[in-house]
Subunit: 205 residues, 2 copies
């Protein structure tokens, strides 16, 4: 029951090996979380409710957003993927006009048979002590068996994209910014992550 061969395993129409190559090219390395995420996105896609246009929510910043971006049309930059960091390893795909969707999560009660996976997921040992090969083998064999599936109704207000309001020139930095943010841009309100920035005078004035 837990046996699977390469040809049997598919992730959103890709073979497992193809998916792993996609992960290497995009994510940079084969993280166990990316393998897990591929099966999660696949399960969600196979259980979509009626509808044509689906948006995505990732409840974590780690790995899962990249699997969503690789396997669905939803990306951070096109606005169809929202990351709402609840610290849970879960995603939802939902019909964008009704909010009707599915949620896939790691069911912690189903990890008992998979010691490496359980150790990885609950961070029971340091990364250095993990047996990477054994862990990857467990992810590959477990596939979707360790996930839970829920029907959800997304609160569309909570995932609304910001309206494209008027843009103004910030009187301090001289850059364009959403007028709604105030008299100056958020960067000049102290929210920029920089200790030092080349002086405006040297910007070509």
């Amino acid at each position: 029951m837990k046996k699977a061969t390469s040809s049997e395993v598919t992730i959103c129409g890709h073979t497992y090996d193809e998916y792993i190559e996609m992960v290497k090219a995009f994510h940079g390395h084969v993280a166990p979380g990316m393998a897990l995420s591929g099966f999660m996105v696949d399960l969600a896609c196979r259980n979509l409710p009626q509808g044509e246009y689906f948006d995505a929510i990732s409840e974590t910043r780690k790995c899962l957003p990249d699997a969503v971006q690789l396997l669905t049309p939803c990306t951070v930059g096109n606005g169809w993927l929202r990351i709402i960091d609840l610290g849970r390893f879960a995603l939802s795909l939902f019909e964008k006009y009704t909010g009707n969707g599915v949620r896939v999560y790691v069911d912690s009660r189903k990890l008992g048979d998979w010691p490496e996976l359980k150790g990885f997921f609950f961070r029971l040992k340091p990364k250095k002590e993990q047996d990477f090969e054994a862990l990857m083998a467990e992810v590959r064999l477990a596939q979707a068996s360790i996930f839970g599936l829920q029907e959800v109704m997304v609160n569309l207000d909570s995932v609304k994209t910001h309206h494209r309001g008027a843009f103004a020139v910030c009187p301090l930095c001289g850059e364009g910014y959403p007028e709604d943010d105030g008299e100056t841009c958020l960067g000049c309100q102290g929210k920029a992550p920089y200790l030092r920035c080349e002086a405006p005078g040297s910007r070509g004035d």
Copy 2:
């Protein structure tokens, strides 16, 4: 001076047409903001300071994060791209251990020669009234001439990734979550974006 042919324009080693194909495949459609973003990432990459490992900051959620993800090793899911939404169309690439980096922004004072681009950037007319072809032609001709470049020192504290602390089982939803978040996970603290979720009792109990 404003003339450019297809073969002359490159974006991080790709021809312009190749980049546009990458955009279609990943972002789903050719948004003017994605064309603009490609030239911005290219300019940043050509001006990196000394160093081996670079992380990225996008100061907007729109388009630019996707160009960073397509053209650099930095993605949202691998943690090397942070989105700090300041509403400014700008990005930084910085050496991850020192914070030393470059920032590229749209210089609003340089948009005067480009009426469609200016209209697009400052949202001067509704999308329906934009001349898409003329706009794309301007982006292609303007290339990096409308950007500013700054040297920055990133405040590394502000972009620190969360530590991988202990993981616990949430007593309410039964899912794994970072213990530091409290007695229950953030989802069960009311931060989940769902109006309705299949009852825990139906999760296979």
